[in-house]
């Protein structure tokens, strides 16, 4: 990566951080007011809502400091380039999104098809997506998928007496 594109990426990163500070600030303000509605008690000075309010106030103050500091670092042109830079960043990390998406899907289907089958499909398919594809790798992936799905289920149920979801079938 050349110096110029590195600087552009750094600036886009700073804008992304700025957005995160705004999200944290909005959430802390919202939760501050939500905490103020928690009923207080006659038996103590601070109620159940006081500690979250203190934490939210501190988060809010720090977020403002972070926002001011971040705004100083970002040039006017940086905002215009932000969308392109984020798109490029996401394209470079497409495997992360595929892997996390597969994990989310896997977790959603565990209660339906059960741990063993869901794990076998998840492990095998993610390995196939990530691997350099050749016969040896596919055989290794298949064995690993079987061992860490049905094998793990057997280990937990028989040795540790922890029963993993069986599914509705």
């Amino acid at each position: 990566m050349s110096n110029l594109s590195h600087d552009k990426a750094m600036e886009a990163g700073e804008i992304a951080r700025l957005l995160s500070y705004f999200i944290i600030l909005i959430a802390s303000v919202g939760l501050f007011f939500a905490a103020s509605e928690i009923p207080t008690s006659r038996f103590e000075t601070l109620g159940a809502g006081a500690f979250p309010q203190i934490v939210c106030a501190a988060i809010g103050l720090l977020s403002i400091v972070a926002i001011v500091d971040s705004l100083r670092k970002i040039s006017y042109l940086g905002y215009g380039r932000f969308y392109t830079e984020v798109k490029a960043w996401m394209c470079r990390r497409y495997l992360v999104f595929i892997t996390l998406g597969a994990l989310a899907l896997y977790i959603l289907v565990i209660p339906i098809i059960g741990f063993s089958i869901a794990s076998m499909i998840f492990i095998f398919s993610v390995q196939v997506i990530l691997m350099p594809r050749n016969t040896k790798s596919i055989v290794i992936a298949l064995i690993t998928a079987l061992v860490f799905s049905f094998g793990l289920n057997w280990l937990f149920s028989e040795v540790f007496t922890v029963f993993l979801p069986r599914g509705v079938f």
Partner: protein, 505 residues
Amino acid sequence: MNDFLTGATQIFTFSTLIYMFAGSIAGIVAAAIPGFTVTMAIVLTLPLTFAMEPLQGIAVMLSVYVGGYTGGLISAALLGIPGTPSSVATTFDAYPMARNGEPGRALSIGVWASFFGTIISTIVLIFAAPPLALFAVQLGPWEYFSLIVFALTIVGSLVGSSVVRGMLAGLVGLLISTVGTDPILGRARFDFDIEMLQTGFPFLVVLIGIFAISQLASEVEDAKNIRSGNSLVTGAIDFQTWKVFKEVLMRPVNLLRSSILGVLIGALPGAGGSIANLLAYDQAKRSSKYPERFGKGETDGIVASEAGNSATAGGGLIPLIGLGIPGSAVDAILMASLMVHGISVGPRLILDHGDLVYGMFIAMAVASFMMLIVSVFSMRLFLRITQVPKWAIVPVVMTCCVVGAFALNNRVTDLYLLIIIGIVGYAMRALGYSLAPLVLGVILGPIAETNLRRALMTDADMSLFISRPISLIFLVAAVLSIAWAIRSHLKNSKTTKRTSNEPAS
């Protein structure tokens, strides 16, 4: 003495020793895989210890911990890739030594230095933790609250590249801990009538999501790298075990200095093996007669780094046992595993469960001997581990994370939380937030809140927080740690600006 003997009887049973032996192997294997940290290995061990006795479970986790520090050495020495962040400095000299045709000697030096580092830290732990606990039981809720404020500020300001983001992460952790029922009156907070939020965020699910899932996701960032395989150093490997043993012992000053440094850094909340190995290496280089040899395969460099990082294991247990404050993410997991068994961790731990604490001391020593035996006799086998490709590891470890999160409460809703927290954790990691303060915030939140509210229930006068001397010391230390961090941050950014301007001027 009675507690010591009871602890020893529990450790020296056949089943505990076998489990510890397996834990030691698992720690070395896990940490030898680049990208697989010691923390992740311990997180994955946790669900396996639920069915065990508390001390047995802790002993297994300590074996993984001690083994993990050694495992990081394998890929550091042979591939030049630190297996864990704690072995960064090991690569400086162990890798050149391995490239110069002495890979076996480099590994042996690291193993022996790790062993002595752990033993020295265990000795310090045995002498330091009980008096600290006796002192801590006299502290009131004011001092405890101020101590937690200090611990969080020092973690937030020490870890990561930005003080503000570190502090924000710590505070977000505290806020996460307030979801669910409040610790004193049991009132519902922030559940928004969603069933899975009513019991709050289970700490271990947060921990697995934040550390393991986000770390695994970041391992697949580079598509080219993941689809290629790294090969190990080839050629004959001669470990020269006993020759190296004498060689390491011939450096008592370096060994002691690095270990003590490791213990001190380990005892400091937030700092850990990742800082200790670099500082110990730096000190060894400064005091060496031949600093120019460092970075080219110098024995002293490997000894300093490995003794320093291994000694943090014992150091980190000092505040955990003495004060009930975990110094690092690993200590937080150890604390959580005791809490799963219904044991409350605090300064009274050593008074109420003396056998458990002395058992932990013994387990540390036993674990380091096991690590040594496993390393010396089967290092050749472990060398193959570094060849396991990432594409095979990532989905398998993710499945283990799912099992770990589910096994805690047998709740499918915990799995939904896991993926949400994992995605948030990855986003935070990508945005440069350090995750250790967040995790410590989650575990310290209820302790901080309980002590704050208890202090004000005892006496509504807020000035007691600054009029009680020990509480004041902690608060002043908290302010100083932030000021120091801001100062060094400004100094660093000035230096960076000057360096980046230099070519233009």
